[in-house]
Amino acid sequence: MDKDQILGTVSSIVAEICGVEKDAVNENSTVGDFPAWDSVGHLSILSKVEETYDISFEPEEMMEIEDVKDIVEAVYNILQK
């Protein structure tokens, strides 16, 4: 799976959880950009990503994830393993 595909899926998840249009989300969208992307929203996004790809992030990975690009990278790296 390439990064563009992951970006598409992750953007949809962020859009759904934050209650915004998918067009409003890009790879630089980050925690705090949308009102619903607070700690509860962040956790919901990461849980949904984990569920979608059947993966789980380690706490060290979680801490580094702040924006859409970070999520895409983290997913890509785990899927490569």
Partner: protein, 482 residues
């Protein structure tokens, strides 16, 4: 002495001590006080605020909010802090109830209402009015809570209430003027706003972060400003743990205190915190907007009582009464009732006669049921009030039920709190529905709810039952569904 009077003393005694830090900006106590006086002057001269007038303040953890909040008090006004995320219907109800002279700060979900930017309050004014003593028994804040019915209820807090609460909290936690506190809590609620008052009245330093969402920023601020404490709700600990594992333990020598808000927290979580931070005062409170931090416990020194809500805070008395207002003995279960100068002076727009019904013999009725053990510790059994607490956010069951009931095929429903199986959010919403439509799937129900509710308010589980338990008068008995 009011909080503002304590701050003016701090500005005289330690004028150059840093009061606030936000990003790269640092504000000393003398600067803080000067700016609060400018804000107070402007709010009177430009916006016509008179003694006792209300201003709705969209409350986000930035420096301008702090100037506005204190400035309105100094000018004799009443602050009505609301969440920037407040929806339109809730805003309209609060506005109708408080008839404010204006609304300040950014509202994200309200269209068509012009609000005044907080920065306008700092515009230069020709003559800054000197500070005049604030009458301690007047109302300082009206905080609107999430009522079970969905209608917001205004809790009035006098200057005396606010300073009594700050004194009780600082006494228990043992805060000092040398503390540097990281504030990641929302300031539109009693807990976060209370932390602001505690730190500034004591003369400490407050680092404004505003949210736990970015753990990188959270730990970055603790490192950079050498923070000695912070406040969090139990779900905040769930979040920190999930996002950063045991990293907090690296700050064991630095963190002097943590204050934890009142909602359910598993004993294992408390024990883990004790293990990671063996020298930190880890103080968990029990309280409500009407009676902020009525009880406290410290995890290390009271480790045998981790399953309780602690003991009454300094200067607070707690007793248990039965439904008729008779005092109960230790071990007998009834309603937890609180007495102290921190207890709300009134509900906004409610008669004295009605308000008097919220008391038994001078003790405020919390709506929580529990008992006191032989050592005086409070054991909470259940909430008589039925608000669902999702990761620290309050959800009114009726708000979700009203929307569920509008879905074709659902004949009746009730929502209650269920524990989060992941142990992170604390509670989640569970919906019980009555339906004879077999084609109505959970997916279809959630799809109908999604456009109308924030994600955290969506039911995490939906169970079909034959009927919703109700009292003879038709009131839903949600506690029977738990």
């Amino acid at each position: 002495m009011t909080i503002e009077e304590q701050i003016v003393l701090n500005s005289i005694n330690r004028p150059d001590h840093i009061a606030l830090i936000a990003g790269d900006e640092k504000v000393s106590y003398s600067q803080l006080w000067e700016r609060c006086l400018v804000a107070a002057t402007n709010v009177k001269k430009k916006y016509g605020l008179k003694q006792g007038d209300r201003i709705i303040l969209s409350a986000s953890a930035n420096i301008d909010f702090i100037y506005a909040y204190l400035g309105i008090h100094i000018a004799g006004g009443i602050c009505v802090p609301i969440d920037p995320d407040t929806n339109e219907s809730r805003f309209e109800l609060i506005k109708a109830s408080t008839a404010p002279v204006c609304t300040m700060g950014t509202l994200l979900k309200v269209e068509g209402t012009s609000t005044i930017p907080l920065s306008n309050l700092l515009e230069s004014c020709d003559v800054v009015e000197p500070f005049r003593q604030i009458e301690i028994d007047t109302i300082a804040d009206v905080l609107f809570t999430t009522g079970t019915t969905g209608a917001p209820k205004g809790v009035s807090l006098s200057h005396k209430n606010l300073s009594a609460a700050a004194l009780n909290i600082n006494t228990f936690i043992k805060n000092t003027a040398d503390d540097v506190e990281l504030l990641a809590l929302p300031v539109s609620h009693s807990f976060g706003l209370g932390r602001v008052r505690c730190v500034l009245s004591k003369g400490g330093t407050l680092v404004l972060l505003g949210s736990f969402a970015s753990m990188k920023k959270f730990f970055g601020c603790i490192d950079r400003y050498h923070c000695t404490g912070f406040g969090m709700v139990p779900a905040g600990w769930g979040y920190i743990k999930k996002m950063s594992g045991k990293k907090l333990g690296q700050y064991a020598d630095q963190l002097r205190y943590i204050e934890i808000g009142s909602s359910f927290m598993p004993v294992e979580d408390k024990e883990l915190l004790c293990e990671l931070l063996p020298q930190t005062r880890i103080c968990m409170h029990y309280g409500l907007t009407e009676a902020s931090r009525s009880a406290f416990m410290e995890f290390h020194s009271e480790g045998k009582h981790l399953n309780t809500a602690g003991k009454p805070s300094p200067n607070v008395d707690i007793k248990i009464f039965d439904a008729e207002g008779h005092l109960l003995l230790n071990g007998e279960e009834g309603e937890v009732c609180v007495k102290g100068n921190h207890v709300t002076c009134s509900y906004w727009n409610e008669s004295k006669d009605r308000f008097a019904k919220d008391f038994f013999n001078g003790y405020f009725r919390t709506g929580d049921s529990g008992y006191l053990d032989e050592d005086g510790y409070i054991h909470l059994k259940s909430r008589i009030k039925e608000i669902i607490n999702v990761g620290g956010k309050k959800v009114s069951p009726m708000e979700v039920e009203d929307i569920l009931n509008s879905i074709p095929g659902i004949e009746d429903c009730a929502c209650v709190a269920m524990p989060d199986p992941e142990g992170v959010m604390g509670e989640l919403v569970k919906a019980f529905i009555v339906t004879h439509d077999e084609s109505l799937t959970d997916t279809a129900i959630l799809a109908a709810l999604k456009p109308k509710l924030e994600v955290y308010k969506l039911p995490a589980a939906i169970e079909r039952i034959d009927s919703i338990p109700k009292t003879a008068s038709g009131k839903v008995q949600r506690l029977q569904l738990k």
